[in-house]
Symmetry: C2
Subunit: 344 residues, 2 copies
């Protein structure tokens, strides 16, 4: 598939991409000749650039403008040409300190903060998918009676989720009765993921229990409810207004579509889920993205884990003209940090 490029073409392509990422202006042959590839005249570069355009790596906004990387050009750059970006130690330090986890016990706080830091550091929009409730394993469940007819169900998972839900109980249940059901359930459900707690499993348990306790219909209904309807897939955003800084988003209409997307959590979830791969970072450039609204953007995603179990996805979304190596470096840091600080 990939047409072979000779060394010189590679260098030129790289020069164009790097320059365009920096300036957001089409890059002319002169610029390339002067700044990057000493010893060749602009005319030669021009010829090479014409070739690169024909091959599909570069494009021209109009006849008499410089060249701009095409999607394919970015792809090639990312796959073969990009150099690793080492953050300056000042930046590094700033990053570490703003990520510092003191006073942040709750997983949600950590994630919200990470999203903010990530967007600030990259100057792009960041998306972080929180741990998926459904994939978490059941740890234990409690029911606290609140008053005569209401109770509070508390559900705790291995990933630190704590869900609670107030439930109405038509009948009064004594503390002892509740206790019995609850401990039975805890025993049966321990270690299952929420996904695995299906309606049929619940029914089974219900039958099982009914022989011993007949009062508990209500209690069951609510357990079922509280498990079933929780789709609880939260996506945390940071720096949604950063796209306004990008010159490619000076059109109000584009902005609108983008911000609209940001308001629709299920869509964001889908976008992140589609992309994510267990292990490495995934870079989706332009039309490689499924979602119509981000076909002019690049999405870079990675996953974070707790004790080697994948918890969620971290993403950075910006125009295809994005500082790939820098963003990736920052994301690496962040994911490392997340992995580390969640494992405690």
């Amino acid at each position: 598939m990939t047409v072979a490029l000779n060394e010189r073409k590679k260098q030129i392509l790289k020069a164009v991409v790097v320059n365009y990422i920096k300036t957001a202006e089409p890059v002319g042959s002169r610029t390339v000749a002067r700044a990057y590839r000493m010893g060749l005249s602009s005319a030669t570069i021009r010829n090479e650039m014409a070739d690169l355009e024909e091959m599909g790596y570069l494009a021209q906004p109009h006849t008499s403008a410089g060249r701009v990387p095409s999607q394919l050009g970015y792809r090639y750059y990312v796959d073969y040409l990009m150099e690793k970006d080492d953050l300056s130690s000042a930046e590094e330090q700033a990053l570490t300190s703003s990520l510092s986890t003191e006073k942040m016990r709750e997983i949600e706080q950590i994630i919200v903060n990470s999203a903010r830091v990530l967007s600030a550091a990259t100057n792009q929009t960041s998306l972080i998918m929180g741990p998926q409730f459904k994939k978490s394993a059941f740890r234990q469940m409690r029911i606290l009676p609140l008053d005569e007819t209401r109770g509070l169900v508390v559900l705790i998972t291995d990933t630190g989720f704590i869900k609670n839900k107030v439930i109405d109980m038509k009948q009064h249940l004594s503390q002892a009765e509740l206790q019995q059901v609850v401990s039975y359930l805890n025993q049966k459900l321990y270690g299952l993921t929420i996904d695995q707690v299906t309606t049929s499993l619940i029914n089974e348990l219900k039958r099982d229990l009914f022989r011993r306790l007949e009062i508990l219909e209500q209690a069951f209904i609510l357990l079922e409810e509280s498990l079933k309807e929780e789709r609880q897939i939260r996506v945390f955003l940071g720096g949604t207004t950063n796209i306004l800084n990008q010159p490619e988003f000076k059109d109000v209409d584009k902005i609108r579509r983008m911000l609209n997307l940001f308001e629709q959590e299920p869509l964001l979830f889908k976008i992140l889920e589609d992309t994510s791969s267990e292990d490495d970072f995934v870079i989706k450039i332009g039309a490689e993205n499924e979602c119509e609204d981000i076909k002019e953007c690049t999405l870079i995603t990675g996953t974070y884990k707790i004790h080697d179990k994948t918890l969620g996805t971290v993403g950075v979304l910006g125009p295809t003209r994005m500082d790939y190596s820098r963003v990736i470096s920052i994301m690496h840091r962040l994911v490392d940090h997340l992995n580390h600080s969640l494992s405690s």
Copy 2:
């Protein structure tokens, strides 16, 4: 203060405001003459409009454009001229059905949904301040041991808040010991607002308890923590992108400032808190707002209650050229609905 306006001037002012709200274009004397005030020529209207301008109710974007209501003009309109807007029964129905509370037990869900509905119906941005944790009254507290060293504090207030926090306990506490502290605390704190649970009160309780139980240092620290640091003033937004539809926000820079504001919850909180009045709706037009960033906007706020206790504030934010009567009608509906559905 208010300069008297004769009937004709009132009619003309009203016509200009109504027309400008609808079209967002400066209104000329011709338009007013034709559409609203039959039997008068445009020249006459012109004279009157010149008067109104001199009095400060109208303004001219430039010499040869129509007139636009000034802030004072809007004020006068809102205070004396505005007619009540009756929603069409179709709209009414749509509103009621999308507000329907089935399957929404949690207060947060109800509010999020309300914000969405409100923004959709008004085509503006909506802000809803959730119940303030600090003003809620302590109902009860529980500690669930999770494992050897960790426990889950659950705190319940009269307004339906359920807070939980995982805490580390350096020492192992038996269920019985915990139980003792907890029930003592419940007894002492019942009915106080969270605001009233000060550090000094806690210290007092602590001394009191220490005589009987010496182990509980840890448990106390965490109670203190979980109460203190919770500033928990959530403002829920709806339709933040609606401002993009307003012609007054076609400037990217304005958009940026606005969206930035929306990301800063504490500021939003302040804005809502400043405005709110216990009983009636408050309309702040343009520079009447304290906050620099919304001096070109109008903010309309009202409060919702549960059992006659004010819980939070509902607001609609948009350009000063906003359909006041319509927005107010919708907000009335919404607040009624909130009041009603929260009291159960």
